[in-house]
């Protein structure tokens, strides 16, 4: 690819102003049941909205968590944001609060014991 071509392409993509791959977004959209066709505008809007969403989620969670000394955005900041904010409520299923592995394995054993006793 010539340098001139590359420059043209870059200018074009900068003008489009998105930084997420639309083809991947499309793949995710298509994996929803009963989705047949997605027009170009819809794809762009979803991609751009996703960017806004990432910013929104990151910033909200970060702000919530920055009461502590650490200035690191952690998983639990995200989990808390999902629980506390109405907008992010839909994420509560995939953002469970974490437990220690050994606690989980313990409860698993107990569940199996209960199943055996039935």
């Amino acid at each position: 690819m010539s340098a001139k071509n590359m420059e043209k392409v870059e200018q074009a993509t900068n003008r489009k102003n998105i930084s997420l791959p639309m083809s991947r977004v499309r793949l995710i959209m298509k994996s929803s049941p009963d989705v047949s066709c997605i027009n170009q505008d819809a794809l762009f809007l979803t991609t751009k909205a996703t960017e806004l969403f990432v910013q929104h989620l990151a910033l909200s969670s970060y702000k919530n968590g920055s009461g502590k000394e650490t200035n690191t955005l952690s998983y639990s900041d995200l989990a808390n944001a999902a629980e506390e904010s109405e907008t992010f409520q839909f994420l509560t299923d995939i953002l469970p609060k974490k437990i220690l592995a050994r606690e989980y394995l313990k409860s698993l054993e107990e569940m199996e014991k209960d199943a055996d006793n039935l």
Partner: protein
């Protein structure tokens, strides 16, 4: 929880007694390795999709992480599991919006999801603060697309895996597949800098 691929052996999962999600047994890391190899290269559409479950399809973590980084104050850091987590949240968000939009389409007996459906879905689902800025971005996008009809096809090298560091983004990258047939089905655009559009108000996420 999946009965097929889960294991209760902590050592196999690679956890050293640290935290893990209560309901997801298989950590995002493991899924990432399997799912993304097929996703990075070919966008076949037919064969590659069969092996992937809906929850395995994510956006590249490098891109997601970069957007996050630009959103928080410069001194802030992001834990690795937070990045992976947002990756999953993003897929969830896309599915969330899409199914709402799709439902409306069905109700109105239409087959194609258009821009209005997406915007309406966002309003309905509590993201109406995105709607106005999105309309402006869409305008700019349309203008950019108009100017591109003359550009010939360029190939994209999908050497961009999940390990992109910030340094990679300071160099110009070959951008994407821009087809000249007007179809634009596999447009993948990567920008090297995240630009703000003058005139579009910064969203306040308080």
């Amino acid at each position: 929880m999946d009965g097929d691929s889960s294991t209760t052996d902590a050592s196999q999962l690679g956890i050293t007694g640290e935290y893990m999600a209560g309901s997801h047994f298989v950590l995002a890391q493991a899924q990432e390795d399997e799912g993304d190899e097929g996703l990075n290269d070919h966008e076949d559409g037919d064969g590659s999709k069969d092996n992937l479950r809906e929850q395995d399809i994510y956006l590249p973590i490098a891109n997601v992480a970069r957007i996050m980084k630009n959103a928080i104050p410069q001194t802030g850091k992001i834990a690795k599991d937070a990045k992976e987590c947002v990756q999953e949240c993003v897929s969830e968000f896309i599915s969330f919006i899409t199914s709402e939009a799709s439902e409306r389409c069905h109700q109105e007996k239409r087959k194609t999801i258009n821009g209005e459906d997406i915007l309406f879905a966002m309003s309905t689902l509590g993201f109406d603060m995105y709607v106005e800025p999105l309309k402006l971005y869409l305008q700019k996008f349309r203008e950019a697309m108009k100017g591109e009809k003359g550009i010939s096809t360029v190939t994209v090298t999908e050497g961009m895996g999940e390990e992109l560091t910030d340094e990679t983004f300071t160099n110009p990258l070959p951008a994407g597949i821009i087809t000249a047939d007007g179809q634009q089905q596999n447009v993948m655009v990567y920008t090297t800098s995240y630009q703000q559009i003058p005139g579009v108000q910064q969203l306040q996420f308080s």
